[in-house]
């Protein structure tokens, strides 16, 4: 057993080529230890989704290293994907599939036994209060229920690292609380959780540490107490002090993990 954090991102840089080439990540370093929830904050275009793409091997860093559970994630992207469960912000290809079926199938794909996956899927459906929709095809579901289903797919057989990209978008306030509770449960079970969110008010209730990305660079990192000056200001005020603007939860347009966007397109992660 080693004391090394589950995820170690060290000096990772990524630049998208082209005439309007953009430095999406600039010497980004962060760690996510087992059993902790680390919040990754930043505006659209800050480089968050680009970083996730590199962790799971959809993008190759220009420089720097990424270590996952002691393994080189850049050299072994297949292993990185086995070690990581991702809830993406975009669609999860659920049409024609029920939430229960989706959670079970992903659990089986991630290597869970049939019995283990059935039990865990039922547990998640109950914990997230998804019962009334659990056996309806996805096209009949609201965006919030689809997002909770996506969380269930990431959490059913979690890897050493779980990455959640805006997990509470479209989710109603009651189920948001349930969802935050399940995220805490994941960490308590020893999983490292990297939480990407604009919702700093809710995130501050569950995160152990925070990293703020701005224009591809880490501009602040530390515990909640460190960033909020021991509670003298709330996290949103701290964020505004660091970045000079509000995190703006309404600006959470879908990003892409791996495909460069055209200039000026909505939700692009600092891409040309």
């Amino acid at each position: 057993m080693t004391d090394q954090p589950t995820l170690v991102v060290h000096q990772v840089s990524k630049r998208y080529p082209g005439r309007a080439g953009v430095q999406a990540n600039d010497r980004v370093s962060l760690t996510v230890p087992a059993g902790q929830v680390v919040g990754l904050l930043g505006h659209n275009g800050a480089g968050k989704t680009t970083l996730v793409g590199q962790i799971v091997g959809l993008l190759r860093p220009d420089s720097g290293s990424i270590s996952l559970a002691g393994h080189d994630a850049v050299a072994q992207p297949g292993l990185a994907r086995r070690l990581t469960s991702v809830q993406v912000q975009t669609a999860c290809a659920l049409e024609g599939i029920t939430p229960r079926g989706a959670i079970r199938t992903i659990g089986r794909i991630r290597g869970g036994s049939r019995a283990q996956v059935r039990a865990r899927a039922d547990q998640l459906i109950e914990a997230l209060d998804l019962g009334p929709w659990a056996d309806r095809p996805a096209e009949q579901l609201s965006g919030g229920v689809a997002r909770l289903t996506a969380f269930g797919m990431a959490a059913v057989v979690p890897g050493a690292l779980v990455i959640l990209d805006e997990p509470t978008n479209d989710v109603d306030p009651v189920r948001r609380r349930l969802l935050w509770g399940q995220i805490q449960r994941l960490a308590e079970a020893g999983t490292a959780v990297l939480l990407i969110t604009h919702n700093v008010r809710e995130a501050e209730q569950v995160v152990d540490r925070l990293v703020v990305l701005e224009q591809g660079q880490v501009v602040a990192a530390g515990s909640l107490a460190e960033l909020t000056a021991d509670g003298q200001r709330d996290l949103e005020e701290a964020y505004i002090a660091i970045c000079g603007r509000s995190p703006d939860p309404t600006a959470a347009a879908p990003d892409r993990l791996a495909e460069p966007q055209t200039a000026g397109s909505a939700g692009s992660e600092n891409r040309p």
């Binding site: 998208y16 793409g53 799971v56 091997g57 959809l58 993008l59 190759r60 992207p77 297949g78 994907r81 086995r82 990581t84 991702v86 993406v88 912000q89 975009t90 669609a91 999860c92 290809a93 659920l94 049409e95 024609g96 599939i97 079926g101 199938t105 992903i106 089986r108 794909i109 991630r110 290597g111 096209e139 890897g159 879908p254 892409r256 993990l257 791996a258 495909e259 460069p260």
Partner: protein, 245 residues
């Protein structure tokens, strides 16, 4: 190995359930394509000698096989890329070969009903008696798989909008400018030369040879061209999925 097969089965089931939403539409499109190819060419050509009718009767089945892979696959993959689900699938702990294999099986299976419909329509319309060879299933699978792999690679490598536009252009190339429903000799020399190296001519020749064995021989060159394209397209599609930006 057992794990890979289990993952392939699970992911294939997932993809089939997703496709079940569009299968009726796909089948309708294939029927339209098959009937349009057979009936439309019939109107264009009018009364024709038997050799011409043989091409028309068998061409529609090849068009159906090719069109699903080369035209519909890029459009479906482009849509998945645009909505983001393509990236999500790539974050799953599935070997890239499993992703390609599952989609290949799916698109090949979806292409087969169109082939049969095209064949039935052609033989009835032009009153042609088929003489099948046992190689027909293998050749049909190779044609559908090659087309699907090429379409898949195109969709992975190009911008989604470009992939959709190219697939639409390919409809006209396949229907009008390929030696599928008429002999290659009708094309200008330069286009004949190009088709000697592209897979469409080999696909059409081999399908005809398997459907009308008394009228068309199996040419070794066609087998070689199709085999090379099949393997290259498979490697290309897998490489396109593995590629990291």
């Amino acid at each position: 190995m057992t794990t890979v097969i289990r993952q392939l089965g699970l992911y294939l089931g997932w993809q089939f359930r997703r496709a079940s939403q569009v299968v009726p539409l796909l089948i309708v499109v294939q029927i339209v394509l098959a009937v349009a190819t057979v009936v439309g060419y019939g109107y264009l050509i009018g009364d024709a000698p038997r050799p011409v009718l043989l091409y028309l009767a068998t061409g529609a089945s090849t068009v159906s096989l090719v069109s699903v892979g080369l035209i519909m696959t890029p459009q479906m993959v482009a849509r998945q890329r645009s909505e983001g689900s393509f990236d999500w699938v790539r974050t799953l702990p599935l070997p890239r070969g499993v992703l390609v294999a599952a989609d290949l099986i799916l698109w090949t299976a979806l292409a087969l009903p169109g082939m049969v419909l095209g064949l039935v329509t052609g033989t009835v319309r032009f009153q042609v008696d088929l003489a099948l060879t046992p190689w027909l299933p293998l050749v049909a699978l190779a044609v559908a798989a090659t087309a699907a792999c090429v379409g898949y690679a195109l969709a992975c490598l190009l911008h989604p909008m470009a992939a959709v536009l190219i697939s639409q252009v390919l409809i006209f190339v396949v229907l009008l400018f390929s030696p599928v429903s008429y002999p290659v000799e009708r094309l200008p020399d330069w286009l004949q030369t190009i088709h000697h190296w592209l897979p469409l001519e080999a696909m059409a020749d081999l399908m005809r040879a398997c459907l009308l064995r008394h009228d068309f021989p199996v040419l070794g060159r066609d087998v070689a061209v199709l085999a090379i394209w099949c393997l290259a397209a498979l490697a290309g599609a897998t490489w396109a999925l593995r590629r990291r930006g």
